[in-house]
Every structure is written in structure tokens, then in C-alpha cells.
């Protein structure tokens, strides 16, 4: 594929992305009055993040055991109100350690 064509593709994708992300910002300036829509929008973030996190988290590393250990660590730390950095780095460390241990056992 020519470089020129790739540039067109990138520009087209960029345009779609920008429209999707900005149009609601510009056309929904007034606070929504409708109770259903208010509630819907209040619940959307949690619903989107949850469905993106699960079950994908279990296949996010090289095996399901290390991924599960990492996910459990993240859930436990988040439950005890640890911040984003602590949760993400600890979970990554747990995955790394579990995978190293599994290599040793093998």
C-alpha cells in the first residue's frame, strides 16, 4: 500500500474518531432533564469499564493463572481504596512474580 494511501486512511479514521468524541460535547451542552437519560448516563461509565475489563482481563497475560492472580490482587487493593498507581503496578508485579514462579516449577 502506498504511503499516500496510508495517510488518507489515517486522516479518515482520525476524522471519524474526532466526530464521535466531540459531537456529543458540542450538541449536549445543556444538562439533560430526562430522568431516564440522566440515570443512563450516570451508569454508562461503570457499565462500559466493567464490560471492557471482564472477561478480557483473564486473557490479558500469557496464561489464565497469572492473569487471575493479577486480577484478584487488583480487586483486593481497589477494595481497600488504594490509588490507581498502587493497584496497577502491584497487579503487574503479581503477574510477573507468578509467571516467574510457574517457570521455576516447570
Amino acid at each position: 500500500m502506498s504511503a499516500q494511501h496510508l495517510i488518507y486512511i489515517s486522516l479518515a479514521m482520525c476524522a471519524v474518531m474526532v466526530i464521535m468524541r466531540t459531537a456529543p460535547m458540542l450538541f449536549m451542552k445543556n444538562k439533560v432533564k430526562n430522568k431516564f437519560l440522566q440515570s443512563f448516563l450516570a451508569y454508562i461509565p461503570c457499565a462500559v469499564l466493567t464490560s471492557m475489563a471482564f472477561p478480557e482481563v483473564f486473557s490479558s497475560t500469557s496464561n489464565i493463572w497469572s492473569a487471575s492472580a493479577g486480577a484478584l490482587a487488583a480487586i483486593a487493593l481497589a477494595y481497600f481504596n488504594q490509588g490507581l498507581i498502587v493497584v496497577t503496578l502491584s497487579s503487574t508485579a503479581v503477574v510477573f512474580i507468578v509467571e516467574q514462579l510457574m517457570n521455576l516449577v516447570k
Partner: protein, 247 residues
């Protein structure tokens, strides 16, 4: 602008920068993977970087890479695939628009929209009260830089990273989602139920072979989130108006 409000703007920008650090760290493995994938698909370093900086979305870039590898040339197909994989941004932006400081102008709103990614959105929504422009810009700065940096590193080094490390880094973004969703679910029963319904629905949908073979993960997320939020909105309508007066 008087001194105190300048200070306030500055500190909320700095607070945003700080809150953006974990997001930025989480983006490095994603964009690193994107960089590796695009360079493996045959893109030059420059082209990979150009694409990464224009298409600020890991899922969008992954979709583009797939199409490039498949030899697709129709631009419409790229645009459509991006739309489908990233449809949720319409929902996220609608939701974020409700929380923005009403005094913001259109340019600020546009800029916020452009840099509104899943994770930045998630962190921004944790703010109490209206979200200020300065806070959001602080928050969005480092993740964008990290995304570009990770991609450059990925396409430059391609497969130098040890497998053990890249495997562990893979969980980072999900650990971050978990860190965002758990604390509010502890405090509010409706949110807990939203979480549980979305969790169950997502796992069920992913496990049905017919669904999995016909729908992309992007669609599953949309269906799952819209269904969950609709059900819960009917059962637990929120009382925004009253909350506003308390504040």
C-alpha cells in the same frame, strides 16, 4: 483573573497531570504493542508514528492494523470499522458532557472531546462536582505523550522486550479499570448492581459461540453497557436535581 483563581487553575492542572500518570503508564504497553504490530504489518517508523498520533485509540489502531494486514484498501471500510469498534465514545462523551463545567466554551469542549479516551474518562468521572477544563487538560496531557512515545518505542525496537515483561504489562490497563470501578461500587448500591449486571452479561456474551463469532469485542461492549445502563436506569433512577442543591 485574580491571584487565587490563577492559583486554583494551576493547581487543578497539576492535579490533572498527577492523576494522568497511571493512565500514561498504562498506555505505554498498549501503544508499544500497537507500534510493534504496525511495524510488523510493514509500516515505516514515520508512518506508524503518524497513524498513532492521529488515531488516538488502541482499539482503533488495532483495527487499522488488522485491515492493513488483510490488504484492505477501501477507506470507507477503515472508517466504518473504527466507528464500530469505538462507538462507545459517543456514549462516553455524552456522559462526560453532563459533568463539564458549564462555563466552558466550544473550543474547550472540542479539545476535551478529542482527548477523551476510556481511561482518561474514567479518571475524570471520579472528580467530585463539575469537571474543570484545566483539570481535564492536565489529565489528558501525559497519556497522549505516553501513547505516542510507546508507539515510537514499539515500532523502533519491535521485539526487544522480554516476553515475561510484556506479558505482565498486558494486565495493566485492566487493573486500572478495576481500580476505577470498585471504590464507587462499594459506596453505592445501584453502582454495585450496574457492575454485577455488566460483569455477568459481558461474561455470558463472550461465552456464547454464536455471539462471539458474529460480533466484534467492540460491539459486545456496546450491547452490554447499553443494556445494563438501561435496565439499571429504569430500576434505580438517579436524583441529580436534589444532589445539585445540596452542593
Amino acid at each position: 483573573m485574580n491571584k487565587t483563581s490563577t492559583l486554583k487553575t494551576e493547581s487543578s492542572f497539576l492535579k490533572g497531570l498527577k492523576d494522568g500518570i497511571p493512565v500514561a503508564l498504562g498506555y505505554i504497553p498498549i501503544s508499544l504493542a500497537c507500534g510493534i504490530a504496525t511495524s510488523k504489518a510493514g509500516l515505516s517508523f514515520f508512518m506508524s508514528q503518524f497513524m498513532s498520533m492521529l488515531i488516538y485509540s488502541g482499539a482503533g489502531q488495532a483495527a487499522a492494523t488488522n485491515l492493513i494486514r488483510g490488504g484492505e484498501t477501501a477507506i470507507v471500510m477503515y472508517a466504518l470499522t473504527l466507528f464500530v469498534t469505538n462507538c462507545r465514545y459517543i456514549l462516553l462523551s455524552m456522559s462526560l458532557a453532563q459533568r463539564l463545567d458549564p462555563s466552558m466554551n466550544s473550543l474547550q469542549r472540542t479539545m476535551i472531546g478529542i482527548f477523551n479516551t476510556d481511561e482518561v474518562f474514567g479518571v475524570a468521572m471520579k472528580e467530585k462536582g463539575d469537571i474543570k477544563a484545566s483539570y481535564f487538560f492536565g489529565l489528558a496531557t501525559l497519556p497522549y505523550i505516553a501513547f505516542a512515545f510507546g508507539n515510537a518505542l514499539g515500532s523502533f525496537t519491535t521485539d526487544l522486550l522480554p516476553a515475561s515483561l510484556s506479558s505482565a504489562l498486558g494486565i495493566m490497563i485492566y487493573a486500572m479499570f478495576i481500580a476505577i470501578i470498585i471504590p464507587p461500587a462499594k459506596e453505592s448500591k445501584p453502582i454495585l448492581i450496574v457492575l454485577l449486571v455488566a460483569l455477568a452479561l459481558s461474561i455470558v456474551l463472550e461465552c456464547i459461540p454464536v455471539v462471539k463469532s458474529h460480533l466484534t469485542p467492540g460491539w459486545i461492549v456496546i450491547i452490554c453497557a447499553v443494556t445494563t445502563a438501561s435496565i439499571c436506569a429504569v430500576i434505580f433512577p438517579v436524583e441529580y436535581e436534589e444532589k445539585k442543591e445540596e452542593l
